[in-house]
């Protein structure tokens, strides 16, 4: 391994440490936010927003998605569409009422 490559990895390690610190801080922030006096909808939005930021940091930096090849990005985009569809299936129950009469 050349000196250049070694330095390149060292730069990456600095980024990993920063992300690690951010993840720890955001975890404590999630817990602190859960004690805030907000409506249930606001609490859900807040908790999921922080979780999404944390997940993006893990996926982007620890899993190297920000520098990953297009093939993987497209696979994940397709997966995300199916995931969203899966998450919205329960919403159908709001408009689908069985008639009891």
């Amino acid at each position: 391994m050349s000196e250049n490559d070694h330095g390149h990895i060292q730069e990456h390690i600095k980024v990993y440490l920063t992300v690690f610190g951010a993840l720890g801080f955001l975890t404590l922030l999630t817990v602190a936010a859960s004690y805030m006096d907000v409506s249930p909808m606001e609490a859900i939005f807040l908790a999921l927003a922080i979780a999404t930021i944390k997940a993006s940091l893990v996926a982007g930096y620890f899993m190297h998605l920000i520098t990953e090849k297009q093939t993987i990005i497209w696979i994940l985009c397709l997966t995300f569409i199916f995931f969203l569809f899966c998450m919205f299936i329960p919403m159908i129950t709001v408009i689908d009422h069985a008639s009891l009469s």
């Binding site: 391994m1 975890t27 999630t30 859960s34 609490a43 893990v58 620890f62 899993m63 297009q70 093939t71």
Partner: protein
């Protein structure tokens, strides 16, 4: 027979097959947990008002917060073990991989105390809808932790990591692929923590 393109990139995908394989597997895992998250939303919408909050209040937030920090730390040590191999430092790899295994073990121990605490108070998966989905989601996640520990343990032990002396690049790729799986397990917990313990 050797599986082709496990170290070098395939010209058509621009990736080696190991990496493409793990990402397709992780996509299927997203759908596995996605289905269960969807079930959680469905059950929560159908539950009486306050039911999920009532049963959720029986869970230990300090224990779960500690476990979240442990899992995040394990992700950090996992990526450091891969970075150590990239810098050709095998001793550091062994140390960081050992720390990752230790974090995974601590996570399981805390989970053991959480589960036994519930059972001690007569709370089981059959106690309520919330507890049913709680034990299903955390149980499946725990199985993933155990699966990851088996793979990482194999690479940590001498018979698993002897490839480092013969094919260092291939061994580094193996650690990268195992790391991707491990970060995914961390990522799932990042969502499980707030929806089960805090909301």
């Amino acid at each position: 027979m050797q599986i082709p393109y496990i170290v070098e990139e395939r010209p058509d995908t621009g990736l080696n097959n190991s990496k493409l394989g793990i990402w397709v597997f992780l996509a299927s895992e997203v759908m596995l947990f996605g289905g269960l998250f969807s079930a959680y939303v469905f059950l929560r919408m159908a539950a009486p008002v306050g039911d999920f909050a009532y049963w959720g209040s029986k869970l230990s937030i300090p224990m779960a917060t500690f476990n979240t920090l442990v899992l995040i730390s394990s992700s950090m040590t996992m990526i450091m073990s891969w970075a150590s191999l990239k810098m050709k430092d095998f001793e550091k790899f062994k140390m960081y991989m050992g720390l990752t295994l230790l974090c995974a073990f601590i996570f399981l121990v805390v989970k053991y105390f959480e589960y036994t605490g519930k059972f001690h108070h007569g709370i089981y998966p059959s106690s309520s809808t919330f507890m049913g989905i709680y034990f299903t989601l955390t149980g499946l996640h725990m199985l993933h932790i155990i699966g990851g520990m088996i793979v990482m343990g194999y690479f940590w032990l001498p018979f698993g990591n002897k490839m480092w002396t013969t094919e260092p690049e291939r061994f580094t790729n193996r650690i990268e692929v195992a790391g991707l799986y491990w970060h995914f397990v961390d990522l799932v917990w990042i969502f499980l923590f707030p929806i089960l313990y805090l909301l």
